[in-house]
């Protein structure tokens, strides 16, 4: 490559980059888009209204709803914003836990980024417990979790495994089922 050509490339590139730089500071992103995790957190909050736990799983009308978060990840972190929110006279408590055995007193268990093997044991452990399991890991509801969040064409959807919900004695209002994608075990 000749020296003259090298300089030509340099000049061109510099011009392009400088041009881009000039126009950038002036621009604004149009319409701020919320993050995936914030939308999921808000959806989860709104879903709680459509879920009934069996007697004994949650005491008096005024007792708080405990959302336990297991594992790291942006969705789990965004849930912190729900801590202290009020839902029909119940306070929402968000608690981060380190292992599934600590989820005994939780009404909702959010599974963040954990090892695949851990997911199976979490699903196993919660199978007989009245705990609404929620995750945005792929195929979570298909594998026996109750609610799985998925992204479809840039929008958030949720999948509900009604067989799992029934087993765990969690009643889900039909209004919620209507807008969810349903999966069920064939039995």
């Amino acid at each position: 490559m000749s020296i003259a050509r090298v300089y030509m490339y340099r000049t061109c590139t510099c011009l392009i980059l400088l041009f881009s730089l000039c126009i950038c500071p002036g621009v604004q992103a149009d319409g701020i888009r919320p993050s995936e995790s914030n939308v999921k957190s808000a959806m989860l909050f709104n879903m709680i209204k459509f879920v009934d736990w069996p007697q004994g799983a949650i005491s008096a009308d005024s007792s708080p709803i405990t959302v336990c978060v297991l594992g790291k990840g942006p969705f789990g972190a965004a849930l912190d914003a729900l801590h202290g929110e009020n839902l029909k006279g119940r306070a929402v408590i968000v608690r981060h836990i380190n292992q599934v055995q600590e989820a005994g007193n939780c009404q909702i268990l959010v599974v963040g980024d954990v090892d695949r093997r851990a997911v199976t044991s979490i699903i196993e452990w919660t199978r007989q417990q009245p705990i609404l399991t929620v995750s945005d890991l792929p195929n979570f509801a298909q594998a026996g979790g109750v609610v799985g969040f998925i992204e479809q064409e840039g929008k958030i959807r949720f999948v509900i495994n009604i067989t799992a919900a029934q087993q765990q004695k969690i009643r889900i209002n039909s209004l919620l089922l209507k807008i969810a994608r349903i999966v069920q075990d064939p039995s």
Binding site: N38, D115, G144, K155
Partner: protein, 682 residues
């Protein structure tokens, strides 16, 4: 060349620093959860979110050098074909030969007939057993349909099977439920003459979706090195469908089909022995070649538990090609089964078995014929892969091997061992040792290719000399032992980086060895040249890539690859041409720098700067290095309409990238192009 790269990198970082300093608080634009909770579920479901789909967590768990090209990268690249998209992946060598031909390889040993790459589309192998390579010109899937392309550098044979010697490219199309509604796009320009795509997706029932598509692409004749018409126009129609269903919670069924019909202009230099009426030795022949084919694939996947699953895949593929040098038709049936399960708390096991039968018909021409014009070959395979968790979530050992039996060399064992250490979720170190083979192709065994005729006197012989490349039934598998390591880091939410090092040790590589000459009817000499395994060598190098999003509206991605290749001839072979092809047929340095801006008011502005070092020798021709730039500007008019203008290779009127080895077709140069495109969703 080096200076330019350094300068560019410095410049970009300087620019970014300057830019970042101006508006420091602008990084995290988001909507608070407390504001979102006021919305109804339906309203939340209708919000378009900024995607975190580039989830580094998933990549972080891979003990291999992986690079993912997602739909956003595809759309914003302005590329109109799959090989051009692959240019953004580090360590992948893409060089255009003419408008319908590319040389594509990973970590070197490139060529039009490069054969050390496994390419899968939706899990179905698309390399042809004829030469163990890919006819890229038949892969004209609508780019809007591709969800992502995973590029794995280094051997993937333990998992994926033979031919995954230098790497694996996995093209994954969108699930039918992700393509609901209609899409129509059309565009064109000078060399990208015209292209049109129509797609429509609909729900068939509660849990099933069907999507159908059709696409046509037409490229005009390009320019050769002298600026004349290169006679390389290419026209292809592709149609296809995808059906995805979920009959029960754990079961998914997919049925995919596609068909293509194309024609492409080529100019051959053909050789023959002079006859009584025709004293010439060679002539130039412009032709139009044709290809068409189709395939059908079914896949069933059952989720047993979160860690356990079964899948079964069956596919059938047919294609035929009509060229002046060869008629080829081929039918392939493939069956693949996999079972994944957790065992004993620490083991994540996958095992599987497969069978492939491929049958061809190869019509002889005066130039190429095959010792058996028709042949069917069997491939049996089985594999076992265990990921052993040594320290949960921190340290894992992966052991696996594939066992294959093919008709040419019998049993082939391709093991690998990998270690992955993630001290924190943000940092991953990995290392691997693998063995893989490139099993003989049909060509290696049976080809008879009369590829050149030399006039008398040219090499000191009194008679016309016909050079003939002959297949070798004793051809053995080419073998690699690869040593790799890498480091991946998510330094912040805005910066990720990835470095991989490799040392590849090759043995039994293919070259030509001179055979016994024979006298043809007393008037000419035939000089056979046998395909043999008489070369060994090694390559080493590294690749680095980094992404940085200083703001929500600006994203930068840079990659750099370095490769050194050293080859030695064995057993007295004198085939310097093919030795140099393997050693010097790939650029040493390559870089790519992409910048994507969201300009506001629904405008996007993308710049892609890339370059490659010189190609030292491909069939004894060297090709200079180049630096080139693509620019794309697009505007979304509402939710349904997008208009874009793309300029490609803007820095120069045209530049050469490659010439074809073995088969003598005339290359064309990569021209500066400008095209417009309209996309409408309905």
């Amino acid at each position: 060349m080096n200076n330019i790269i350094v300068l560019l990198v410095a410049l970009v970082f300087w620019c970014c620093e300057a830019g970042a300093g101006d508006t420091p608080a602008n990084n995290q634009e988001d909507v608070a959860v407390s504001d979102l909770t006021k919305l109804s579920l339906e309203a939340l479901m209708d919000i378009e979110v900024t995607s975190a789909s580039r989830k580094p967590q998933r990549l972080a768990n891979t003990a291999a050098a992986v690079f993912v090209i997602n739909q956003d990268d595809i759309r914003r690249s302005g590329a109109t074909n799959i090989p051009d998209l692959l240019r953004m992946a580090p360590g992948v060598q893409v060089a255009r030969i003419d408008s319908s031909k590319w040389a594509v390889s990973i970590r070197g040993i490139n060529g039009r007939y490069s054969n050390k790459l496994l390419v899968l589309k939706d899990g179905r192998s698309i390399y042809t057993p004829l030469f163990s390579g890919v006819y890229w010109e038949t892969q004209d899937t609508p780019l809007e349909d591709i969800e992502r392309i995973e590029v794995i550098r280094g051997p993937g044979a333990a998992m994926w099977g033979s031919n995954a010697v230098n790497g694996v490219i996995n093209i994954i199309t969108k699930n039918a439920s992700d393509t609901r509604g209609g899409l129509a796009s059309a565009g064109g320009g000078r060399f990208e003459r015209d292209f049109e795509t129509v797609r429509y997706g609909t729900r068939l029932g509660e849990e099933s979706d069907l999507s159908v598509h059709a696409k046509h692409s037409g490229r005009g004749n390009g320019l050769n090195s002298g600026g004349g018409d290169a006679h390389d126009a290419w026209d292809i129609f592709t149609g296809g469908f995808r059906l995805d269903a979920q009959p029960s919670a754990g079961d998914t069924l997919s049925l995919l089909g596609s068909y293509y019909n194309g024609s492409f202009n080529e100019t051959y230099t053909l050789y023959h022995l002079p006859g009584e009426n025709d004293p010439t030795y060679s002539w130039i022949q412009p032709t139009t070649s044709r290809d068409n084919g189709g395939n059908l694939m079914g896949r069933w996947h059952r989720t047993l538990t979160y860690t356990d699953s079964l899948s079964l895949q069956i596919s059938y593929d047919h294609y035929q090609r009509r060229m002046i040098v060869l008629d080829e038709s081929r039918d392939t049936v493939d069956l693949d089964f996999q079972h994944r399960f957790a065992w004993g708390g620490r083991n994540d096991l996958i095992w599987g078995a497969g069978y492939r039968f491929s049958h061809d018909n190869l019509g002889a021409t005066p130039f190429i014929s095959f010792n058996a014009p028709s042949k069917g070959t069997n491939l049996f395979s089985a594999f076992l892969h265990d990921e052993i968790s040594l320290v949960p979530a921190k340290l894992a050992l992966i052991l696996g091997s594939r066992f294959e039996h093919n008709d040419y060399t019998g049993l082939e064992i391709q093991p690998n061992g990998r270690l992955i250490w993630t001290p924190t979720p943000q940092h991953t170190f990995w290392g691997a040792v693998s063995r893989a083979v490139r099993t003989p192709s049909r060509g290696d065994n049976d080809i008879v290719y009369r590829y050149r005729t030399l006039p008398p006197g040219a090499v000191g012989n009194p008679l016309p000399l016909r050079l003939e490349i002959d297949g070798n039934t004793g051809f053995a598998s080419e073998t690699i032992i690869a040593y790799e390591s890498g480091y991946r880091a998510e330094l912040s939410h805005h910066i990720t980086m990835d470095i991989a090092l490799f040392y590849n040790d090759y043995t039994r590589l293919r070259v030509l060895s001179i055979g016994e000459p024979s006298l043809l009817a007393g008037t000419s000499i035939s000089q056979p040249m046998l395909l043999t395994n008489n070369m060994h060598g090694h390559t080493y190098g590294y690749e680095a890539s980094a992404t940085w999003s200083p703001f929500d509206w600006w994203r930068l991605q840079s990659t750099y690859g370095y490769l050194c290749s050293i080859m030695y001839l064995d057993n007295g072979s004198t085939d310097e041409t093919n030795r140099k092809n393997a050693a010097d047929g790939t650029p040493r340095h390559q870089f790519s720098l992409r910048s994507g801006f969201d300009l506001g008011h629904h405008f996007e502005f993308d710049i892609w700067l890339r370059g490659a070092d010189r190609v030292g020798s491909i069939d004894n021709v060297s090709i200079p290095g180049y630096v080139t730039t693509d620019v794309r500007l697009s505007w979304k008019a509402g939710k349904k309409l997008e208009l874009s203008l793309t300029g490609q290779n803007l820095l120069k009127a045209r530049h050469p990238e490659y010439i074809p080895e073995m088969i003598n077709t005339s290359p064309s140069e990569v021209p500066r192009t400008l095209y417009g495109k309209v996309t409408w969703k309905f």
